[in-house]
Amino acid sequence: MKTVAVAALVAVGVGFSLSGAVGIVRMPDVYTRMQCSSKTVTMGALPVLVALAVAKGPVSNYGGRALLVGGLLLVASPLASHVLARAAYKSGIPLWEGSVLDQAAERAGPPGADRRRGPEPGP
């Protein structure tokens, strides 16, 4: 029973990690890739860590540290993603030409410039 639960959790984690990796390879844009990278942490890493805690017990040598790793990942990964997205936008990396909305540019006003490549969509 426990083995089945652990196997299912590891399978979910590995599956989401794989889909996130495929997304990072296939997505057209750094911002969309960043979204896939966030999925890798929340749905890819946490089930594996919970599986370890289930397998060895949460208050054991393994489970406690696994839960600690999970907490650290939950805190640190969104922080890093946010800082990286901000830096990428400010350093002028263009959005994918299929993007429909750039709220940061609208807020910055005309000098901020639309970072979409290609022709202006018009009024």
Partner: protein
């Protein structure tokens, strides 16, 4: 149960190889940073699974270190990206 974690470790390692494609091909620096960030998470997970497979809890400290400090690299690179080299 040990086998499950062994397979998990192998799978995470293979995912790292998929991500290496983006690390090599990424057109901009930030693409490479995204790939590297994800690779460090996957490496932490692989070490974690391997510690169960090898039955050595000391390896968990490596995963703990990877999880707690790998994001600092991302933040430093982002800072350089945003403000230049000073």
């Amino acid at each position: 149960m040990t086998t499950v974690f062994g397979i998990g470790c192998l799978a995470e390692t293979l995912i790292v190889f998929v991500l290496l494609l983006r690390l090599v091909a990424g057109p901009t620096v930030s693409d490479r940073i995204v790939a590297l960030n994800t690779i460090s998470t996957q490496a932490a997970l692989a070490v974690l699974c391997f510690s169960v497979y090898a039955d050595r809890s000391i390896y968990l400290d490596v995963a703990l270190w990877l999880a707690s400090f790998s994001y600092l690299g991302t933040i430093v690179w982002s800072r350089y990206l945003e403000r230049g080299l000073l």
